[in-house]
Amino acid sequence: MRPNALLAIALISGLLAAGCATDDDGSADGANLVVGTVSDPVALDPAQVLDQESNRVATQIFESLVTMKPGTGEVVANLATSWTASEAADEWTFELRDDVEFHDGTTFDAEAVCFNFDRWYHFEGIQQSEGLALFWNAVMGGFADGRSPSLYESCEVVGDHEVTFHLTRPSVSFLAALAVSGFGIASPTALEKYGADDVGGSEEAPVFNGTFATEHPVGTGPFVFDSWERNSRLQLVANEDYWGDPPAIERLVFVPIANAAARRQALEAGDIDMYDLVDPEDVDVLRSQGFQLLERPGFNVGWLAMDQRVPPFDNEKIRQAVAYALNREELVGAKYPPGAELADQFIPPSLSAHADDVPQYPYDPERAEQLIAESGLSGADLTITFAYFSDASRAHTPVPQAAFEAFRRDLEAVGFKVEPNQLPFSPDYVAAAFSGGTGGMYLLGRNGDFADPANFLNQYFGKFNEEFGFEDQELFDLLARAEGEVDLDERDRLYQEASRQVMEMVPAVPIAHVGTFLAMSPDFEGYVPSPVYVEPFSLVRTK
């Protein structure tokens, strides 16, 4: 027994000592940054992923023609140095950088850009699915097979470092959309060599045979793919030949830690240097411990929708009465996480199309009662069905149950009779919301994909939509005009006008834009949270 015990003690103290040694190394050289993520990325082909964790890594490896100025929605040059649009905004010409190489040593040029766009345009089968080609679907709408109309028509190589995109109709949001990670330019050589589009298996169980997205993602970005042990760690290293300012971080590591409490403890224990999606209740605790809390402005909006096919929501006065009846200020102040901001319209304040003078609906129960009286409805007419969920939480709708309870009280106080309709979020609630089957009133919202008002207004109010159930050709036309307007100031003006019209009609009552938090060790600086998740680690350095 005794020698064994001694051995055990020696082993344990050795392990503990090793621990101290590693910790010291980690903080002394500061060259490594370890990021705790919510989950392992799915794949690293930016054009074929939907989840945030895949995009977060992919944006460090791949770059788009344009990007967003850190922390804002302002479009700035990236792989393109400048761009011009034709008067009709259906042709876009980009001048490209002439000093860029892909990580595999091949040259970045106009041919490479068109190769990528044509690849995306020619996706087939499941590669076209919204679960894979999310951004292409959201921005372009269709593929080469013509099953649904595509905004994209063709890419023309004008010179070695100049390309022109031909669009099927005018679009200005096209420019901002190009900044999202889904339009990151990959090395054509690597795409072919590592079978990026080699989807095999059978139709019922497609298997991505290629290794491009898992072992050989090759772009032009500030970080180069190094290794990926699934579910353990994904390592990138600094691109020494980067065309821009090289990153200060030598090795960038992503480790998946699914549980939010475990992420916090990993940061506290020094296993990781930063993590995303801090639990709201941990914000103050971590701050008091000396960690940096970085707030990402909410690029989303949560709302209380009213299906206009269902009476009494076909009555504008009733919808306005609902808006006045809700004490949103109190709900957001008391129940929403820190970082949430009361919303008075659908376009988030970080976009320049956000209007300052939309109709306001402050909490005013008397005004609500007055509007109900003006509507001429009473008694059974005022019985409404309110659908909600309590088994899930969304970034834009963090506390659905509390919101339902508060709003139900507010609505009954002014004379509505509320029939609750609780549904499991997935799939019943979601399915009901998208097929006009909620019974009338329900909570939902949207997270923005790219920094353009079209992403918020056109998507929802630009054409007939099952979620709101109304036809308003004047508004549809206004939004179509705004989307295609080339003069950016005029465009903002049109969107502000549309925002006013929407808030006059109140198809839904916007509730809040909800921000999120990242926590970071005090040893680092330079990380800029972005409302659209364009967050380059190349700006991070040790203090």
Binding site: M1, L11, G14, L15, L16, A18, G19, C20, T22, D23, V34, G36, S39, V42, A43, L50, G125, I126, Q128, S129, E130, G131, N137, G201, E203, E204, A205, P206, V207, F208, T214, S227, E229, R230, N231, S232, R233, Q235, R251, V255, I257, A258, N259, A262, Q265, A266, E268, A269, G270, D271, I272, R394, P424, S426, P427, V430, F434, S435, L444, R446
Partner: protein, 335 residues
């Protein structure tokens, strides 16, 4: 012996078949489909239909089951809807993590539990015995996840002696020929990697060991107390055998049979997913994988994962049975 193995394997087949049917039906009875989980809340009905068609989820359930069985026989488990990787690869990358953790946990449980139980039996009714009874009660009654959180909080967060998550330092560049990180370190003669892997293993293994340790020490104690009253022990004592020979050949060999059953059962249970411990320590094993697969309604992963774990459980039990034969030759004759 070989015939016995064959018999056992043959018995396994109908069990697995019945299980495959149950799993298949259960997975599809869950509310929500993979398309919703995969595409998010704003998916269009067309996109959902497309995913369902791509994964053949729009076909009659019997057709789907038939395809599944045909594939299964060809050892093709399909590909995960969530990660798009072949499920076989997913299991291959996660199972070693779970095995490593289970082995470490059981090792601690046996190495500490058996001597503890022996000591308790030897000093029956005196303070070492009482202490071990109280200790094992504690071990059984503290929820594993709570112990895991406690260990992590004290040793990782507060004292900072050991890491709080993962299997290796995030920046580690150690090679992994087998996927068992401690073994990999030894094979590649990378001392630092072995220490690194052991440091990460220690806390989760301790947490995981608590219940089996308590059970093992109790069973050892009870079994030895019972064996001590047997006539052949009295004979051995009367013969004046030395303490080592007496303890190992007579007392332990006879007293350990029930302990082996327990080790086998616990091993099977731990292998089939120490979900909570793996989650607390972000251990990339089978347990946390199954949990995520269920959340995402990842049908192929759930089906294959559950069947695989069932197979492992059955195999571990068979191994335990065979171990009896080695320890107690009387059983062989009985066959």
């Amino acid at each position: 012996m070989l015939r016995l193995v064959g018999q056992r394997l043959a018995q396994t087949a109908p069990i697995l078949f019945a299980l495959s049917l149950a799993v298949f039906a259960w997975v599809r009875a869950l509310p929500g489909g993979p398309a919703n989980a995969l595409l998010g809340e704003h998916a269009s009905p067309e996109a959902i239909a497309e995913v369902n068609a791509a994964y053949a989820l729009d076909e009659p359930i019997w057709t789907q089951y038939w395809r599944f069985v045909v594939k299964l026989v060809q050892l093709d488990l399909g590909s995960s809807i969530r990660t798009r990787q072949p499920v076989m690869d997913e299991i291959a990358s996660r199972f070693p993590a779970t095995v490593e953790l289970t082995v470490a946990g059981l090792l601690i449980a046996v190495v500490v539990g058996v001597p503890l139980g022996t000591l308790a039996a030897k000093y029956h009714g005196r303070w070492p015995d009482r202490l071990s009874v109280v200790g094992s009660l504690l071990g059984i009654s503290i929820p594993v996840f709570f112990l895991a959180l406690l260990l992590k909080y004290v040793f990782a967060v507060e004292l900072g002696w050991l890491p709080a998550s993962g299997r290796l330092e995030p920046t580690s560049q150690a090679a992994h020929p087998t996927g068992f990180y401690v073994l990999d370190g030894i094979l590649t003669r990378d001392g630092a990697a072995v220490v690194d892997a052991l440091r990460h293993l220690l806390l989760p293994a301790l947490a995981l060991a608590s219940v089996p340790l308590a059970i093992i020490s109790r069973v050892t104690r009870a079994s030895l107390l019972q064996v001590q009253t047997e006539s052949y022990i009295r004979t051995a004592t009367a013969k004046g055998l030395g303490p080592l020979r007496f303890n190992v050949h007579h007392l332990l060999r006879n007293g350990l049979l029930p302990v082996i059953t327990i080790v086998g059962l616990q091993g099977g249970i731990l292998l089939s997913g120490a979900v909570l411990t793996e989650t607390v320590f972000s251990w990339g094993g089978m347990g946390s994988w199954m949990l995520t697969s269920i959340q995402y309604r990842d049908f192929p992963a759930m089906q294959a994962g559950i069947l695989f774990l069932a197979l492992i459980f059955v195999l571990v039990n068979m191994l335990v049975d065979l171990t009896y034969l080695v320890i107690d030759p009387r059983l062989k004759r009985a066959e």
